[in-house]
Point group: C2
Chain length 114, copies 2
DNA sequence: GTGATACGCAACCAAAGGTTGCGAAAGGTG
DNA sequence: CACCTTTCGCAACCTTTGGTTGCGTATCAC
């Protein structure tokens, strides 16, 4: 049973810088490579590359506006990504539960044996 | 406002191969580099490197058993990682909600203006 | 027009994921 | 014991990815 996870979406949000970029875009509604890089510990060019990755993953979209290019989060796609995050969490949680109750069952079995 | 996310834990579970390894270890309770690599599209050596990363992140622990070294998931630490996953999901979800209701408010305001 | 601002493109660098190759320790079996 | 197999650990090497600097170009503001 695979996790059913879309690796492209995951790797897009797997990078810490990209996660912070999404945070910033969500908090401020929009942003450009320059404005984002001002609040991040990386250069504008690095931010641009990340924006390209996020764009390919469909998580952001951009519109040229004069001499600058504005980016904003694609809400539907981010919602999808969030859903996948939650689903992995839930899956692992369930497995952890199973492991725990299994251990419990074994412990009880051994107690009755004695 | 930062996400409060532990980047070490994230990058540990950010890699698709490592996620599948955790899945396998959870499903089968334990495993070695060799048994894991048999079910993954990578070599034993690659798996070993990933196990080292997971070990440093505290997500797995290992015990030498004869000529092999068995690994198992550290449940507490994985539970912590899952909690962080969920928390990011929840945060983004909340922000998406806010964006949506904000847009709604603006739309309503413009309607009344007309 | 001139200067500042925002961008795109290219070269280059370091770290991470992955591979092959090899030597050594632990187990089975004659 | 001797031999063969299994499992591991270490080292060299390759490719991708996140990051940098440098430079040319388009746009805005005066």
């Amino acid at each position: 049973m695979s996790t059913g996870i879309d690796d492209d979406l995951w790797s897009a949000i797997g990078d810490p810088t990209r996660r912070r970029m999404i945070d910033l875009l969500l908090a401020e509604g929009q942003g450009t490579a320059t404005t984002l890089s001002a609040r991040l510990p990386v250069t504008r060019q690095a931010v641009t590359k990340h924006l390209t990755v996020l764009d390919r993953a469909g998580l952001v979209r951009s519109t040229p506006a004069g001499r600058e290019r504005r980016y904003h989060v694609d809400e539907a796609q981010l919602a999808r990504a969030v859903a996948q995050l939650q689903s992995v969490g839930t899956l692992w949680d369930a497995r952890l539960q199973r492991v725990k109750s299994l251990a419990e069952a074994i412990r009880r079995a051994e107690n009755t044996k004695k």
